[in-house]
């Protein structure tokens, strides 16, 4: 029985983590802007902010869902004049990554017109969720 104890522990813990992982990844969580964190500026993200919304995506090389996220957000923002999508290589912008506490890729921040983070998705977000979030921001 001793031989089976490690494998039981591994499968139990990995299943618990996997269920949490599956549920949390891709979920777009809204954040209250009262958190008091300083807004992001054009120089922080290396691009002008969108007139209404800026989607700031952090990507890395060893990341399959980063490609899907990039394609999705590029597609969604293509028809919207007041929404900008910025893709940032996380590894080359570690100071910004640390400041924003980005831990994995892809992580997408939703900024309002003032550059304040009002939402965040860790993992590839769903199209419907992104559209709903964009519609909710004036």
């Amino acid at each position: 029985m001793d031989n089976y104890l490690p494998i039981l522990i591994v499968f139990t813990l990995a299943t618990a983590y996997g269920l949490w992982y599956q549920r949390s990844r891709g979920k777009l969580k809204s954040k209250s802007s009262r958190a008091g964190k300083p807004a992001l500026t054009a120089s922080d993200i290396g691009h002008d902010l969108g007139a209404r919304v800026t989607l700031v995506q952090f990507s890395s090389a060893f990341c399959t869902p980063c490609r899907a996220t990039r394609a999705l957000l590029t597609d969604i923002t293509a028809d919207l004049d007041d929404v900008v999508h910025v893709d940032i290589d996380a590894e080359k912008n570690l100071d910004l990554v640390r400041r924003l506490d980005v831990r994995s890729t892809p992580t997408t921040l939703v900024l309002n017109s003032a550059g304040v983070e009002v939402g965040r998705a860790v993992g590839a977000p769903k199209r419907a969720d992104v559209l709903a979030t964009l519609n909710g921001i004036k």
Binding site: Y21, I45, F62, L73, V86
Partner: protein, 167 residues
């Protein structure tokens, strides 16, 4: 505005695309083999898996024997659209698997059973998560490694210690 501004992020670089189901199938076989290794403590099986990881890590995911099995036996039976992925994320996972398998092999040879068990357990957990939950190891680990690495390299940089006062 369809502007995708890219900060020093090279998207035009040639990216090798794979059939994404291949690495996932490989993760299933890897899970089975690592589970057998964890239960039996078999050195030959561990050396085999170490070799599989080495091929995937250094010659690319397509060079793995499990990728060969996928191409010969599984792919011909699948239909529908082929989901593709960049070859670098699965290759990263093979490198991590190789390091754990190498640690486990050395531990088994040195009779360090606890180290062997922990190393195989981590590799098994990662393979299982990949197989069942489509877990992306590179997404979760790589940025943390980069963050830790940059903190360490910053600490090593001497601060103005060589600025001698001019006479």
């Amino acid at each position: 505005m369809s502007i995708t501004s890219v900060l020093k992020f090279n998207t035009t670089e040639d990216v090798k695309l794979l059939d994404a189901r291949g690495p996932r199938f490989g993760a299933v076989l890897t899970t089975i083999v690592l589970a057998a290794i964890l239960v039996t403590g078999s050195l030959p099986l561990l050396v085999w898996q170490l070799g599989v990881f080495a091929l995937g890590a250094f010659a690319g995911p397509q060079a793995s024997p499990y990728a060969f099995i996928y191409r010969k036996l599984v792919k011909p039976r699948l239909s529908g659209d082929v989901p593709t992925e960049d070859s670098r994320p699965p290759q990263f996972a093979q490198v991590v698997g190789f390091l754990f398998a190498l640690t486990a092999t050395l531990a088994l040879l040195a009779d360090a059973t606890a180290v062997f068990t922990v190393a195989v357990s981590f590799a098994l957990a990662a393979a299982f998560l990949n197989a069942v939950f489509n877990f992306c190891l590179g997404c979760e680990m790589y940025l943390m490694i980069a963050r830790i690495r940059s903190v360490i390299s910053k600490r090593k940089t001497p601060e103005d210690s060589y600025n001698l006062p001019s006479l």
